[in-house]
């Protein structure tokens, strides 16, 4: 079972495997919000962690695909001990890396042996030169401590115990429970997800969700979903705005109203001229 860490209403997924399972098996995308290890200074492609919509997180919890936990607090154990252990690990790692560096150098020397021999033969025909210096350096390759590679872990480097989050009741970490807007959005989200659609946040088009027929990596969104409670007034100007905007970005406006019987009523709005 996947573990989703929640803090202040934000649900985060920290591991790439979990992200993959979510996307490929469960059709839940989330949104990467961290810097990519390979390109930390650009915004076009982002990396872990994955930020889930509250609706996505709740759905995963409800279908039993993931456990929501409150983000574990810093271990209250002796910090100095942990730091000392980390330092010991680093030292061991440094020795290993130095050995690896020496090995890599040996291998390269061996690969180039023929080339070197040829070079020496050429030189010997010219003025004679001592080859001892090179061999002496080959024995102990320089590998300063500053050259050691250190991992800056994205996820926690050690497992930790965390308290499961009760998403049925509102709390500082899960303020969404009972919030009418969240309940409304959740019912729409779940219904569309069950129909096999892939959903992302629709803020940039003024809706609640963008509805994709498949993975947004490859497909365009078809609908801009707007959730409205059945009794709520729907001012005509708002409707025109939403419809116009949807048409302009070549999407259909989808008005979604959960019904008392548990189903959701969908109304799609399409701009058309008089025949």
């Amino acid at each position: 079972m996947l573990v989703v860490e929640v803090k202040a209403g934000q649900a985060l997924v920290w591991s790439a495997e979990a992200a993959r399972t979510l996307r490929e098996r469960l059709g839940v995308g989330g949104r990467p919000v961290g810097s990519l290890a390979r390109g930390p200074r650009q915004n076009a492609r982002l990396g872990l962690p994955l930020l889930l919509l509250p609706e996505e997180a709740r759905l995963l919890a409800e279908i039993g695909a993931a456990t929501l936990v409150t983000a574990p607090r810093r271990e209250s154990g002796p910090q100095a001990q942990a730091a000392a252990a980390y330092r010991r690990e680093q030292e061991a790692g440094f020795r290993e890396q130095r050995a690896l560096a020496a090995e890599a150098r040996q291998k390269r020397l061996k690969d180039l042996a023929e080339h070197i021999a040829r070079g020496r033969a050429k030189k010997q025909r010219g003025p004679p030169e001592s080859g001892q210096g090179e061999e002496g350096a080959g024995l102990q390759p320089p590998f300063p401590e500053t050259a050691m590679l250190v991992q800056l872990p994205t996820a926690r480097p050690r497992p930790a115990w965390a308290r499961p989050l009760d998403w049925h009741h509102p709390s500082p970490d899960w303020p969404h429970a009972g919030n009418p807007a969240h309940e409304l959005r959740y019912r729409v989200y779940k219904d569309l997800w069950e129909r096999g659609y892939f959903l992302t946040s629709g803020g940039k088009f003024g809706g609640d969700f963008l509805v994709y027929p498949g993975d947004p990596l490859r497909y365009h969104a078809h609908f801009v979903a707007q959730c409205c409670a059945p009794g709520d007034p729907l001012p005509l100007p708002d409707l025109v705005c939403a419809g116009r905007l949807g048409t302009n970005v070549r999407k259909t406006l989808l008005l979604c109203s959960p019904q008392p019987d548990g189903s959701v009523a969908y109304t799609s709005l399409h701009w058309a001229g008089l025949p």
């Binding site: 990519l36 290890a37 930390p40 200074r41 990396g47 790692g93 690896l100 991992q151 308290r163 499961p164």
Partner: protein
Amino acid sequence: MEPALEQPQQPEPQAVLVPAGRVLSSEELFAARSRDQKLPLRSHGQKVFLPDGSEAQEEQLQLCRQELWTLLAEERVERRGSLVTAEWSPQHGVVTLKTFAGKFWQTMGFSEGGQQRLYPEEAVYLLECVFSHLKRLGYVVRRFQPGLVQSPYERQLNLESSSSEKWHGKRKRRNSSPRPADKKPKALENPLPEADGTHEDQTTSVQSAPDQNSRSLEEKPQEASHKNNPEGSNQPPESPSQVPGQAEHPGRTLKEGGGSCSTAMDDNGNDRACKPRWDFEKIAFPNMACDRPHTLLLTPAPELLPGNVTAREIDAAPWCQKLNQRKEKLSRREKEQQRGTTPFRNDVNADPEVRRCTSWRAYKELLQRRWQRKTWNCPPNLWDQPVTPLLNPGQPASPATVLQQISLLQTTHLTEGIDGRLLEKSGDMEISFDIYQADSVSSFRKNDPGRPYARMCISGFDEPVPDLRTLKRLSFQSGDVPLIFALVDHGDIAFYSFRDFTLPVDLAH
């Protein structure tokens, strides 16, 4: 290495074990040296409208996904030599550096108590969404410090820019202009060109105030008349172009004043703040001019001094005698400059008609005559009664000025009409960050960052648009720096700003 050994004790029966992330082995770390550093270009073709279940589409999707997972699974690996060690202290909310800071120190962090510190958003760079978004784009992002907001009086004095001018002049890094106004893209340009102009005007006229004592007496009347000018009185003409010439000298003394402030702060060992917040209305500066007999300086109020500085009462008379009172020697260029400005200083005595006057009475009569000459075409039957015509015959009567004169509602701007009541905290919204443009990084100084490119307020997508009161308060705080609102919507960030807009007047009708 052995997770079983390191597993912490289960604190509660229902507790869930959060698995650890991938920890790279030495071999993997070593291999990471030669891994690809380039981001793959997305060359998987256009997105399609509908999944048709075809093999080609499936293949494309797998390619895209594989690329995504490769990128996401990559762990950060750095050379130890390029990393900085730091300690997080949760009770203070700051990160203290333990080894020497790298290049990032030029634009990040602050020093306090002799230590180099970072704010958490700078140290972690990660979840502070707006911060990291802007940093990734290359901007310099600093926390907005409300303590450094200029009081209206300081702003009138234009203290900030004069102190930074001093800095740049000293360092010879930039040309003296602290405002790279020409670099601003159009969209962010101050939509208030006239307001900017009046601001400058105020600056020059008020700047001269602290210098009055050291200036010779005959300049004073000119200054007074200059101050009257903007009121639009029909006094005998005094050329308003004398202003730039006047502003030169006072500017110099002011700069020195700003300099002493900033050194005081350095003594304090605190460069988190580059400009102290003095209430100039409460501070009396002693007049130490040579013609002043009063030279006893009282002890300054202790609250105005840095903690480690003591002060005592002193009689400055002996010191005044040591002052170099020789006349300033000007270089030839400076002399030429001064001469160049004199035609603009319209000396009253240069007027031959005025010279012919032998008494005040004659001078006043001359003024009267000139005034009447100007208004000869105002018949008294129209003008000598309570209700007078709307326009002066002498006035240029363009439709625009007429409209301006008869309009009841005057346009107002966002940063105008601010009083103390409005400045009280209203609403939750506060300015969070000062943003500096990426191309300023090389010349950026934390001590004296200069004028930000923009200031950033952060709010959630569901939060309402700020009301006018909040908006006015924030705009006023921001001063002449554009204020931008960042909306965070589940990791998506959108920016918006308000533009001051004056409706154009239709003169054709």
